[in-house]
Symmetry: C2
Subunit: 210 residues, 2 copies
């Protein structure tokens, strides 16, 4: 009788799936490594072969989740028929739509007991998205549309500002406060990218979702 | 024999002092309400007369701490001999100096177990500082120096960006990465305030402290 052995990468991904499910159901703090072992049906040694700690598997789960989310946006980033402004616009609108669609799934990150995981996921989001946004800004510079010496640093600053300021579990804006901040964001993008006034006016229409 | 009764505000402040000390020594998560009662020498009913929960006393401690820090900066805000740009410069430099001076005291907020308290204190800092910065921006507009329709929203965006991006427990920059981001910040301020290029060049000199 032969046993079908799993590839290490496949095994690792399965353990991450299990952990992710538990973090989702029980919350990060309340989930123990023993919970993960039991649900995954693996020995403690197997877990430690792949991960040093609960913190490490949480980071792996977050990085994978962000990478998957970014992957779904890549068709926009790589679309040669779009200019830099069109790309930014489509990315923002599509990301906004996806966040609204996944609101239920993201709700657990907004629980007070998952604040560590939530903050790490915002930071990972900034680190992973900034180079892509910077690449689009550089495309806009080549097109003569944008003008800045700080494509990466500006991308980071805008991503940090928007990720934290527009996160409903961090800042609690009324509908009108939110709207005023989206208008300000349009102005911030237009001035820092030294581009035409009104380019980012579509942001005025992105209303508060929840 | 007469007993000297304490005024309620004084009593409340003393309980907050005790809680603050315990949060500092043991960390927020590890401190229980019983710890606070014991150290303050008060009955449970007295605590609940002033605070609904540990979360509420934490918020009160944070708000008071931020208010005190802002108070030390008020002589700059209220100095009629300074123009708006000079005020912003002095506030940034003085705040940077104070943070370096208080690095030891602030270190406990950077412990992973105090992340809830730390995030709340960054948010409180933004909420309490933004109106002051907005007031200085409006002074600059009157002086014909700055030009924006979004003084408050811009102040918030800049404060959120800088508070989170330059917090050493959230983003870990090497010295050169930090320096590039300070240069970008100068550019962001100059463009969003539509002011003279080079006005915020002093930021290039604010080196990474820790």
């Amino acid at each position: 009788m032969t046993r079908v052995l799993k590839e290490p990468e496949e095994r690792k991904a399965e353990i991450m799936d299990t952990a992710q499910e538990l973090f989702h159901i029980k919350g990060y703090e309340a989930t123990t490594i023993s919970d993960i072992l039991e649900k995954a049906g693996i020995a403690r040694g197997t877990f430690y072969y792949y991960f040093k700690s609960k913190d490490e598997i949480m980071n792996a789960v977050i990085e994978r989740g962000i990478a998957e989310q970014i992957q779904t946006l890549m068709p926009i980033v790589e679309n040669n028929n779009l200019n830099a402004l069109e790309k930014l616009k489509q990315l923002i609108v599509e990301n906004d739509r996806k966040n609204a669609e996944n609101a239920d799934m993201l709700a657990y990150l907004h629980q007070p007991e998952n604040i560590v995981m939530h903050q790490k996921s915002l930071i990972q989001g900034v680190h992973q998205s900034a180079p892509l946004i910077a690449q689009i800004i550089r495309q806009g510079i080549e097109e003569g549309r944008f003008h800045t010496e700080y494509s990466l640093e500006l991308a980071e600053f805008i991503l940090v500002g928007t990720s934290f300021l527009f996160d409903s579990s961090i800042f609690h804006w009324e509908r009108e406060e939110y709207s005023a901040r989206m208008k300000a964001l349009a102005d911030i993008l237009e001035t820092t990218l030294r581009t035409e006034q009104g380019c980012f006016k579509f942001l005025h229409l992105l209303a508060k979702k929840t």
